[in-house]
Symmetry: D2
Subunit: 442 residues, 4 copies
Amino acid sequence: MNPVVTLDDLQVRSLGASTLDSPLALYVDGRETNEYYVGETDRILYDDTLELIAARGVPMEQLPTFEAGGPRRKIFFEPATTRVGVVTCGGLCPGLNDVIRAIVLELHTHYGVRDVIGFQHGYAGIVESNGHDVVTLTPEYVSRINERGGTILGSSRGAQDPGLVVDRLVELGVDILMVIGGDGSMRGAHNIGAEIERRGLTIGIVGVPKTIDNDIPHIGQSFGFSTAFAKAAESIKAARVEVEAAVGGVAIVKVMGRHAGFIACYAALANHDADFVLIPEVRFSLDGDNGLLSLLGQRVQERGSAVIVLAEGAGQDLIPASDRTDASGNAVLGDIAGFLRDQITKDFANRGQALTMRYFNPGYAIRSVPADASDSVYCARLAQTAVHAAMAGRTDMVVGRRRHRFVNVPIPFVTAGSHSVSPDGDLWLSVLESTAQPFSMA
Amino acid sequence: MNPVVTLDDLQVRSLGASTLDSPLALYVDGRETNEYYVGETDRILYDDTLELIAARGVPMEQLPTFEAGGPRRKIFFEPATTRVGVVTCGGLCPGLNDVIRAIVLELHTHYGVRDVIGFQHGYAGIVESNGHDVVTLTPEYVSRINERGGTILGSSRGAQDPGLVVDRLVELGVDILMVIGGDGSMRGAHNIGAEIERRGLTIGIVGVPKTIDNDIPHIGQSFGFSTAFAKAAESIKAARVEVEAAVGGVAIVKVMGRHAGFIACYAALANHDADFVLIPEVRFSLDGDNGLLSLLGQRVQERGSAVIVLAEGAGQDLIPASDRTDASGNAVLGDIAGFLRDQITKDFANRGQALTMRYFNPGYAIRSVPADASDSVYCARLAQTAVHAAMAGRTDMVVGRRRHRFVNVPIPFVTAGSHSVSPDGDLWLSVLESTAQPFSMA
Amino acid sequence: MNPVVTLDDLQVRSLGASTLDSPLALYVDGRETNEYYVGETDRILYDDTLELIAARGVPMEQLPTFEAGGPRRKIFFEPATTRVGVVTCGGLCPGLNDVIRAIVLELHTHYGVRDVIGFQHGYAGIVESNGHDVVTLTPEYVSRINERGGTILGSSRGAQDPGLVVDRLVELGVDILMVIGGDGSMRGAHNIGAEIERRGLTIGIVGVPKTIDNDIPHIGQSFGFSTAFAKAAESIKAARVEVEAAVGGVAIVKVMGRHAGFIACYAALANHDADFVLIPEVRFSLDGDNGLLSLLGQRVQERGSAVIVLAEGAGQDLIPASDRTDASGNAVLGDIAGFLRDQITKDFANRGQALTMRYFNPGYAIRSVPADASDSVYCARLAQTAVHAAMAGRTDMVVGRRRHRFVNVPIPFVTAGSHSVSPDGDLWLSVLESTAQPFSMA
Amino acid sequence: MNPVVTLDDLQVRSLGASTLDSPLALYVDGRETNEYYVGETDRILYDDTLELIAARGVPMEQLPTFEAGGPRRKIFFEPATTRVGVVTCGGLCPGLNDVIRAIVLELHTHYGVRDVIGFQHGYAGIVESNGHDVVTLTPEYVSRINERGGTILGSSRGAQDPGLVVDRLVELGVDILMVIGGDGSMRGAHNIGAEIERRGLTIGIVGVPKTIDNDIPHIGQSFGFSTAFAKAAESIKAARVEVEAAVGGVAIVKVMGRHAGFIACYAALANHDADFVLIPEVRFSLDGDNGLLSLLGQRVQERGSAVIVLAEGAGQDLIPASDRTDASGNAVLGDIAGFLRDQITKDFANRGQALTMRYFNPGYAIRSVPADASDSVYCARLAQTAVHAAMAGRTDMVVGRRRHRFVNVPIPFVTAGSHSVSPDGDLWLSVLESTAQPFSMA
């Protein structure tokens, strides 16, 4: 599943040597605080099992490792003269405002950076011709934004010409661009970084990866995911209530998950109220003794009702492919929920089995809520890590948490593939154990 | 708006003279508790303003009044030998389990009625040929059911032959049938009551009216309504978050309300996040300077985004009528939400105005949640009132709360019309004040 | 229970004749909207039962009635030149920010009043020598404040010299003072109104009564109460969880309620999780067969555990009176919770009965949360009613909702007494039915 | 910080050779599912950084590792004849019922174990003389228990004689005892395991470690912790609302944390609403320029108010030590909250600075709520892991999640020390960054 990883791939790029004393040092009045600073030898192992590292067949010191995130004793940018820009791109996700807020507070309180601006509506808001104003981000302005979902900066999908973006950054005197966005946005950030490098500028680009589908590879759970699946779980609970009250009740709860069924899996596990979980990673068939229709009919007969949790990207092989794409260039998915509703309705009718069909599509309700407490903490700490990296001159990188350690990772490393539910892994096994659906419905 | 009301219409029917001492009396060990008992002269005024009662032109003692709900010193049924049946009918509504629970607890704890059974899946569950088992309802069985949405008894739509229903009640020895259901279910209850009367039986029928649309006439807010509009308000808030993040964001939030826009109005008032509220009671046009499309375009230009709260029954005159009906005999409504989405999309495209359209349909999520604290209290007290009435031999009636007093009301009185938002009343005025939409969009 | 009420007592005072056209009229472009306006003959009956009005022995037209709240066709103040001040006084209560917000929005959107200021920290903030700045309240400033508990204006307890208050109002050119506060604050408002009258000024004083204890007489449930008892109910639920897990678990949940046990009653009814509800209105004894200690011991033996919901003002006759008062002049209550804990602990020890005692004091957590959806709607509509009254020149009055109709009421009428739980009424009966505690524990 | 760890210490004990085919295998109808099974060579590295493993100076294959948790191809117990007992011990924690439920469902659905019993009120409930009945745990019985806080089995503190415990297990024919409890309970489990071994019996003991303080060493965040700090964060938010409304508002929010300040740190980070976080791991002084009192005075002057989040075990060096212990043998902590309130009150009075002091003690409210969605998933997966280990014959062990991998760990390894907030680590740094309190207040 993982690409071949080498030490070189994990080396984060720097704008130059960090030679300035970090203002954090001034703060600690004489106390020996070496420990707070991340040293160059503090590197986090990529592997976590003996089997994996043994299989590498390299000496210990050549094992692949991530750069530890955190504050460094020496920084690259002079806080008093540094201007930082923040932009949010792509679909909404719980925690965006928490990240924005923590970036501003961290820059302001701990580095003394007073000049932070926000671009509105994604990359489009950076390019001047689109006419969006720039927002001044002060501690007062951001102090309560975390209590609200969405992003105060607005968002949009789609790439912009890196040349135009860099033109504007230069024009505005932006030293650091903090990008909060998904897969495509990070590829965009990398292209902007390449343009900056080509021009020989010292503008840093640091990303905080966002994906409600939790499909970023290598660097741990994505922010907002805990909140998202908790909301999805509420819909599953509502669906269970509905079908139990009905005669022959069957509910389909469609949740996000284009290529990765994490929301479906976690939401189903959160209350054990699902009978079937269908995800993009695991094929299923409708017909045959082991097909969904037959199993569903049995389940309704035995239990009186059934709830199907359906990731939007599941079962795409069962329906005609769409040839449309959205503004981000993602293929528009086929309507698997509608297809299943029709098939189930026909199948129950054929058997003369009573059916009350209910359809739940929590959709936007999942992504537009404020972050829960866990995600708030996580967002704050990711943002702090991103600020530390940016002030130390790191660029073309994102922050993440690799098995509880915050790490700095080159952008290309996380955009090379995507994370998904392993059909052979313990998460999917837990789902199967919880739903009692068969290991194979193919 | 109100039908002509006479004192006779408000007289609740009794199965016979109440001659047994209420066991509540035994409980109070000697204390003078006259006050707890409802007396025959305690009648609640139908009117609330001087203008209205003056307009009646009758002597004070002929003013229309409701019978006060509550415990009576003398009861009709002997608790030790009374069997009570409970049934829930129609669509789900928050608080159903609270009502079931409080009926059982009140019968058991205060009247000493030990024999309570539940019919499953509505009236269909009473008629023997449908094969649904009867459930024994004990205090233990119902002790936590209020923590869950829906109804533990299940529900179904549609009437059953009153003769078959009465046959089964007789067969099972049911003395009192408690019906929790909507408009149609109460008409069904009245028909069952008529059949009972025709046969000269002494089986009581007492209803607790249920409607998530809050459209029962004369007898106050319906249970579950507070919970329902609070959930709907969450969707409006999510919609606001979505549209504010988007470029040219417009959201339609479709909520329940076939003929009455109460959920739309209250949910919109709950957070002032709506720009337009469209309800069945107030016509609106799409075109013209004062039409929705033009006003919407302006609002998006001024505010950057707009949220439309749409009751499902609004604007039905704008689209072709459907000729289908559901199992309860209600006409299937036309898809006004889909129609508006199309019209708005076209209109913005014609003007070249940027548009990001979002559609929210909280639907079942609204009706399947547990009751909030206010509704829980209300459900408990309605159920207690219903039990008091039933034990005193009242029949063919429902309970309600007329301006904070619990009342007993004949079924025909509440099924004769329906309650809706008055376009000239203070609720709709509050909505207009909150949204700043014009008084007339016709 | 109700004082003798005469028509005169219910007459609201006006600053003078209303001669200006309401700008609301301009808004409705030609439509006949008479209905929206409140007319002088629209008066709400004080009484609600036939018995009560018959007992008055007066002709119908002399029955006591309230003035209907709502917009009037003619107003007193010229919106373009009117300055309105807002102040919040006394303890926190859910919904304060909703009221502030709706006052500002209503003034701004519908009357075109652009000049609204907020005084900080109660009456103290009006008196210049206390040095608090005045806040400019714009629609933007208040747009999201309802999402947060407390009051953005701050609060304080205690009266100020009416002369100094009026001096400052005159100095600042305030035409209308909107006071959101409790019993004592309304007496303060009345005194300020008297000083204004004495000086022959035309400054209006309109109040929105606030009390988390729900003890305002005559004019319906107080705002924030629904939210408050819902929070209190959460603590009762937590208490039940705790005591059920323990051996001999007994919990005391202390809730607000100095003289009125409404929070205790409603919170207990909200989840049926209480075994005993103790309120100031109903005396109880500790000892004897019918005393709390004996009954508690039995309950724990039978059920395994017990939860006592205790209003802070209950049982004050059992403990020595305190001679301290708080800044508002209220007597500091004796520590009944501590006393009960000690007595129960001793009593169980004497009997050798196992006891695990848990104490819950939700206190501030109840009053500092944002308003729930029902309270938000109610706050918005109360505030709109208050603005309508103030713009029409009404003064020395508060708004309320008498059995679902919004009314204007002279301040002295609501500060003359206080509302409490009737030991003979249906609310307390419902509580007794729910807890199964005896009618008398004296 | 960590004790010296060797491979041997991490070796989990087995009751004997696992020779039976796992019924999971039958379930997968022919599919090659090797991947689901945990193999003997799948071991999780103890260390996570290159520095740490390099410092060990041992060959790779001798690096310390944990046994991977999960299902094994061969199991020890014959499901059809296996009886499993479940017991919950110590204080409440969110998720206890989730763990009980998932143990029962996993045993029943996947292993076909039909005979599961629950002991009531902790170890005391196992010892016959205490007279507690045993509960039969079926899938139906546990199906909704996760919706309620606490533990349906009840709990108690304190150890029991291992001999008596084993006597009862033998008498009842219990093959596996699942213990959900804290530090002391796990030591108790180890002693029971030792007694079983001494008698040569094959009874397995598998633990799911519980601690609301999140202070279990080595094996990751404890279940319920996410829920707990989210509830604590609500109190901090309420405190902020209170102090902002008051003049000179200062709140102390006391949260759990005897030796470890995790709840205080995470709750403070969750909303950035704290000004000072005081934890047991970091000493602070009251007096001096850098002492709490002086800094607090300044903060209130600058910001108008301040919120102190106080772990119950913080600052114990400032107050006299208590010599009392609770039933679990833990020293009763001194009342640091009361002490601070007094000191702050005196100090503000001395300076003539206005002060409104508020005290919040969410206490039991934190621990008695149901688990949130994240914790529910985590509880379910921990329980599944525990069942797999138990059925495979593992004993004297607990389950945990070491950096996202579920692991089996010998009990002595986790009871040897405790986990706490490192004053030099990145969590505490994040707290300091968030509160802007100085690095040193000593």
